[in-house]
Symmetry: C2
Subunit: 319 residues, 2 copies
Amino acid sequence: MQELVSDCFRKAFSNPLLDTLDDAALLPAVGRRLAMSTDGYTVTPLFFPGGSIGTLAVHGTVNDVSMLGAVPRYLSAAFILEEGLELETLYRVVNDMAQAARTAGVRIVTGDTKVVPKGFADKIFITTTGIGEILVEDPPSGHRAGPGDAVLLSGSVGDHGLTIMAQREGLSFATDVESDSAPLCGLCGRLLERVPVHVLRDPTRGGLASTLNEIASQSRVGIRIREDAVPVHESVRSGCSFMGLDPLYLANEGKCIVIVPGASAEEALAIMREDPFGREAAVIGSVTEEQPGRVVLETAIGGERLLSLLEGAELPRIC
Amino acid sequence: MQELVSDCFRKAFSNPLLDTLDDAALLPAVGRRLAMSTDGYTVTPLFFPGGSIGTLAVHGTVNDVSMLGAVPRYLSAAFILEEGLELETLYRVVNDMAQAARTAGVRIVTGDTKVVPKGFADKIFITTTGIGEILVEDPPSGHRAGPGDAVLLSGSVGDHGLTIMAQREGLSFATDVESDSAPLCGLCGRLLERVPVHVLRDPTRGGLASTLNEIASQSRVGIRIREDAVPVHESVRSGCSFMGLDPLYLANEGKCIVIVPGASAEEALAIMREDPFGREAAVIGSVTEEQPGRVVLETAIGGERLLSLLEGAELPRIC
C-alpha cells in the first residue's frame, strides 16, 4: 500500500504541500473567509464520454466551492478501493484527477486510501473536500434572489445525466452525447469580480428544475423560465425524447445558474460567454414577486406550467 | 433523502455555519496557517466497546489535524450508505459523531450523502476532512526529531486494534478490552503552548513500532525505546499473548507520540498527565545519532532488538 501511494498518488498529484509526507497538509494563511465543501463520488460506470469518476471528483467539489463565491485553492482526496481493482484503472482515474486539478488551478494537498475486501465496495469511491477563498463581501447565496433579478444559465442542460443513463443502458443512439464535466471556477471568479452576483448554483442532481425550486424556496420568490431560452443540445433532446426523460431534471456537472440584478444581465452574459465553459450561456428567465417558492415554465407554444421538484426515486450513482 | 438529511444530520450536527443549507460552508477568516487532513472510515463492526465508526470518524481526523500542531476547528462529513441500512443504525452513528465533535470542540460544517444499491458498500463508510489553525511558528513534523530528544507516549498501546480483532473473532476473554478512541486536540494544544514540540504523531495503523520507524526514517535518526516503559494494559497483554500478536504493532485511536528536547521531557510529561486522555503518559525512550532510520527496542530482560516496520498484510478495516 505504501508503494501504491508513492507510485501512483504522489507522482500524479506532486506539489510542495503534498510532498511533506505527514498525515495532514500545512497550508499558507488565507486572509479572507473560507468556503469548505465535500462530496462523495460513486458514479458508475467509472469512465464515460466526456469524463470519469476522477474528473467529477475534482470538478464537482471545485464547483461547489465556487458556488459560494470562492476561488478553490486546495483539495483533499480520500479513496475507498475494492480489493482486486486493476491498478491500471486506478492510474487512469488518478491521472484524470491530476489533469482536472491542474486545469482548475487547485492543488491536491492531502489524501487517504482504504482498501476493503472484494464485494464490500464497487471498484472505487472517492471523497474530495475543497477549501476556497471567499472573493466578495456579500457572497452569493440561495437566499439572495430578489424580484427584478435576471436568471442566467452557463450552457446546455442534461448532457451529463443522459450520458450516464445511455452508458448504463448500452444505447447506441447516444454516440454523440457526452458529459459536461467541467470546472466553473474561472467563469465564476471573473463574474464575481465585475458583477453583483446574488445567487450561484450548479444544477447537479435533480437538474435545473430542482435547483431553481430550491432557490425559489430559499429566497421566497417566484422564478419564471422561458422553455425555448434554455439551451439543450439536439442529441440530448432526441435521447430524452426516446427515453421519456425531461432534460430539465437531468444532472449537470459543468453548468451554473447565475442570478444577478436585471441591469447587470447583459454584462454577466458577456463575461460568461468569454469563458470556454460558458460559450452557450443564456438569459433564461427572471425572478418575480408572484408565486413565491414556485418555478413557472413558459412553454415554447405559449402556455405555462409549474416546474415541480423532482418526484420519485432519482437515479443512483449519477455522480 | 432530503428528509433524511434534515431529520438526521441537521438535527444532530446543528450549528450556524451548517444551517445555511447551501452546498458549501462559509467559514470565518483564519489569520494563521491552516492544517488540512482527510480520512476514510470503513471499520467493521460499526460499533465496538469504547467507540464506533462515528467516534473514529471524528477523533481520527481531529487527531491528524492536531498532529500538525493545529487546533482543529471545522470538519466536513461525507457518507456513503448501503441501501437498506437501518435508520436506527445511522442515527446512532450520527449521534456518536455529534457527541465526539462537541467534546473535541470542532464543528461539522458541511456534508454529503450518497446511497449505493445493496451489495455495493458495507452499511456505512464515512470520510471526514478537518481544518485547523496552526498554533506555532515551527510546527511539529516527522522530520524534526534530533539526537538528545526524549520520546514520550500519551498512554497504553494496542487497545483499539485488539478490541476490533476480538470483536470480529467473537472472543469472550476480551470483555474488559475497549478501544481508546479519543480526541487529542486538548492535550496537544496545551503541549504546544508550553513546550517546544519537535514531533507529534498518532500511532494508528501499524502501531507504535511502525510510526516510530517512519519518524526515524524521515528525521534520519535512531530511536531507542525501553520495552518496559511502554504502557500496555494487562488485558491487552494477555489478549495479545493468546492471539499471538504484538501490542507494539496494533492500531491505536487515541494516543500520540511526542518528541521534545530532553530538557523539556519532564514538563511535557506533567502536561500530558493532566489531560484526561494522557493520564498514563510515559517517557519511553530517546532519539540517538546511532543507527539512523532504525528503531531499537531494549527488552525487559536486558537484550536489544530492531523494531521493524509491520510486515505482511495488515488487518483491513481496522478504522
